[in-house]
C-alpha cells in the first residue's frame, strides 16, 4: 500500500504533498443547489483533506461581473485561490481588454473558456485573442471539453477535444488544459490522442465519471507531467475527485506531479507555497 492510500485509509489530511487543484469555481450556481460555497466554507473543506490551492473561475458566463466575484476571493485568500479570467466569445470586442484587466488589476494567472456554454466552436476564430494572450503571457487556458458517442447532445459539437488541434498547432506557445479531458470515456480517448500530438496540451482529471484505470491510462500514454489534478469544486466534491489520483495505480512520484507539481509549474507558482 503506498503512502497516499495509507493516508486516505486513515482519513488524515495530505500534509506532506503540495496539492493544487487546477479546476474550480467560485460564486453561486443557478442550475442546482450547492451548500457551503462561501469562501470560509470552501477553505474549510480544502483544509479537511489538505488541498493547498485551487484555480477558480466564475460560475457565470457573463463577464466581467463574475470575474470580479472571483477577484474578491483571490484578494481575500491569495494563498488558497488562483484566478481564471472567464471570457465569452459572444463578446469578442471586450475579450482582450477583460483579459488584461483580470491579469494586471486582479492578479489572475489563467483563462477559462466554455465553448459549450458560449455555443461557439472551440476552434472558432473568435477565440483567437485567448490563444494570443496565452502565448504572450505564458498563461494556462482551461477549456471545458466533453464528448460522448453514447448520448446525443447537440452542443457537444462545440467542445469535443479534437477541436483543439487547430489552435494548438497555430499557437504552440499557448498553454492549453483540456478541462474534464473530454469527460466521458470516448472524450477521454480523444483528449489523450490530441495531447499526444501537441506538447502544449495538458489533461485535467475533473469529471463525475470515476472510471477505473483512467488516470493510469493517461499517465502511461502521456507521462505524468502532462496530467493535472482537477475537481470542478464546488460542482463536485474536491475530496471525491482527489480519490481518483490517490487510488490510481501509478507511482507515488507520478501522483506528486499530478496532484500539484505540474500545476505549480504551469501557473508559475512556487511549489510548497503553503507546505
Amino acid at each position: 500500500m503506498d503512502s497516499f492510500v495509507k493516508t486516505a485509509r486513515e482519513g488524515k489530511p495530505f500534509s506532506d504533498v503540495f496539492i493544487f487543484d487546477c479546476h474550480g469555481h467560485f460564486g453561486i450556481c443557478s442550475g442546482f443547489h450547492i451548500p457551503q460555497t462561501s469562501d470560509s466554507g470552501f477553505v474549510a473543506a480544502l483544509d479537511r483533506v489538505g488541498i493547498d490551492l485551487v484555480a477558480v473561475s466564475t460560475f457565470g458566463n457573463i463577464t466581467p461581473a463574475g470575474n470580479d466575484v472571483v477577484g474578491q476571493a483571490v484578494t481575500a485568500h491569495p494563498d488558497r485561490f488562483v484566478g481564471y479570467a472567464r471570457v465569452n466569445a459572444n463578446y469578442p470586442e471586450i475579450m482582450e481588454g477583460e483579459l488584461t484587466r483580470c491579469f494586471d488589476e486582479l492578479g489572475f494567472k489563467g483563462i477559462k473558456i466554455h465553448p459549450y456554454c458560449d455555443q461557439i466552436s472551440l476552434d472558432d476564430p473568435r477565440y483567437r485573442p485567448v490563444w494570443e494572450f496565452s502565448a504572450a503571457r505564458n498563461a494556462p487556458v482551461l477549456i471545458h471539453t466533453w464528448n460522448s458517442v453514447r448520448y446525443v447532445d447537440p452542443l457537444l459539437k462545440f467542445c469535443h477535444p479534437l477541436l483543439i488541434r487547430g489552435p494548438a498547432e497555430e499557437y504552440p506557445d499557448a498553454v492549453i488544459i483540456l478541462g474534464h479531458s473530454g469527460g466521458e470515456y470516448d472524450g477521454i480517448l480523444e483528449a489523450i490522442e490530441v495531447a499526444k500530438a501537441f506538447p502544449n496540451v495538458y489533461l485535467d482529471t475533473a469529471s463525475s465519471r470515476l472510471y477505473p484505470g483512467v488516470i493510469k491510462m493517461m499517465v502511461e500514454e502521456l507521462g505524468a507531467e502532462r496530467v493535472l489534478y482537477g475537481s470542478d469544486v464546488p460542482f463536485l466534491s474536491a475530496v471525491t475527485q482527489l480519490g481518483k489520483i490517490i487510488y490510481a495505480d501509478i507511482a507515488e512520484s507520478d501522483k506528486e506531479m499530478v496532484l500539484g507539481g505540474n500545476a505549480a509549474r504551469l501557473f508559475g507558482m512556487h511549489e510548497g507555497l503553503r507546505k
Binding site: I34, L210, G213, F235
Partner: protein
C-alpha cells in the same frame, strides 16, 4: 456484477474480482445485483446472481423484480416469500428499462408485498421521475425506498424528496456534490444516507474517501458507511415487521 453488453475498459465481471477491489478500497461487505437482471431478464439475472455469489458471504444479493401480471415472475407475495427463502433481503426495479409503470395500478401489489416485509427497494434515478418516487413513498410509508445513483445536479430534487418523505434514502455513489454528505446529514440526519460506489463501473476508492473525509461525527460516518444499510437489511423479514 456480471457481463455487460457494452463494457468499458476496466470493468470487472466476477464476484472474485469484485471482492478483490473492495478489499483494496477497505470495503467489508456489499449489496450486489447482476447486470443480466437489468440488461437481459430479471429472472435469469437473479438466478445467475445466486449461483455466482455462492462462496462469497460478504456479497449480499439484491434481486431485480417485476410486477406479476405477465407471469414472468411469481405473484408478488409469492415472489417476496421466495426472496426470503433464498436469503435475499433487498430488491431493485427498472421500470423505464423494462417498460412498466411505477404507478399503483401497475405495481401496487408488488410494492405492498415488499412493504409488508420491509424489504428495501432500490430505484435508479434514471428509472423514475421524482414525482413518481414521491408518490411511491407516500403510498407505501413503511417501504424503505433507496434512490440510487442520484447525481449532484439533482440536489434541489433530492432535498425536496427527503423533506417530503420519511422512508426515502439516498445512495452516495454519484451524489458527489461539494459538502453534499455534510449538508444532507445536517439537514435530514445521517440515517437517510447509504454509502454506495457504483462499482465496477466506477472505482470505489474515491467514494470511500467522500465519507471518510466528511466533516461529520464518527458515529454519523459509521451510520452512512454501513450501519444504516445493515439496519435496513436486518429489518427485512424480521418477526417484528407488522403486516399492513
Amino acid at each position: 456484477m456480471g457481463k455487460l453488453a457494452v463494457p468499458l475498459p476496466g470493468y470487472i465481471e466476477s464476484a472474485e474480482e469484485l471482492a478483490g477491489i473492495m478489499r483494496q478500497a477497505g470495503i467489508d461487505q456489499a449489496l450486489v445485483f447482476h447486470a443480466e437482471s437489468k440488461e437481459y431478464h430479471p429472472a435469469v439475472g437473479n438466478r445467475r446472481l445466486q449461483d455466482e455469489l455462492r462462496g462469497f458471504p460478504n456479497l449480499h444479493a439484491c434481486w431485480c423484480v417485476l410486477p406479476g401480471q405477465t407471469k414472468e415472475m411469481p405473484p408478488a407475495r409469492e415472489l417476496v416469500e421466495i426472496m426470503r427463502q433464498s436469503g435475499v433481503r433487498a430488491a431493485r426495479v427498472y421500470p423505464n428499462t423494462h417498460n412498466w409503470s411505477l404507478s399503483e395500478w401497475s405495481c401496487g401489489d408488488l410494492l405492498s408485498a415488499l412493504e409488508e416485509q420491509a424489504v428495501p427497494l432500490f430505484i435508479d434515478f434514471e428509472e423514475a421521475s421524482c414525482d413518481a418516487l414521491h408518490s411511491l413513498c407516500r403510498n407505501h410509508p413503511r417501504l424503505p425506498v433507496v434512490l440510487a445513483g442520484a447525481p449532484f445536479r439533482l440536489s434541489r430534487m433530492v432535498y425536496a424528496l427527503l423533506a417530503g418523505t420519511s422512508n426515502l434514502y439516498i445512495d452516495t455513489s454519484q451524489f458527489q456534490l461539494h459538502c453534499g454528505i455534510e449538508d444532507l446529514t445536517l439537514e435530514f440526519g445521517a440515517e437517510r444516507l447509504l454509502f454506495g460506489t457504483f462499482t465496477p463501473h466506477f472505482s470505489p476508492g474515491p467514494s470511500v474517501m467522500a465519507v471518510k473525509y466528511a466533516r461529520i461525527s464518527d458515529e454519523e460516518k459509521g451510520m452512512i458507511a454501513g450501519g444504516n444499510l445493515r439496519r435496513l437489511l436486518d429489518s427485512a423479514f424480521s418477526p417484528g415487521v407488522q403486516r399492513s
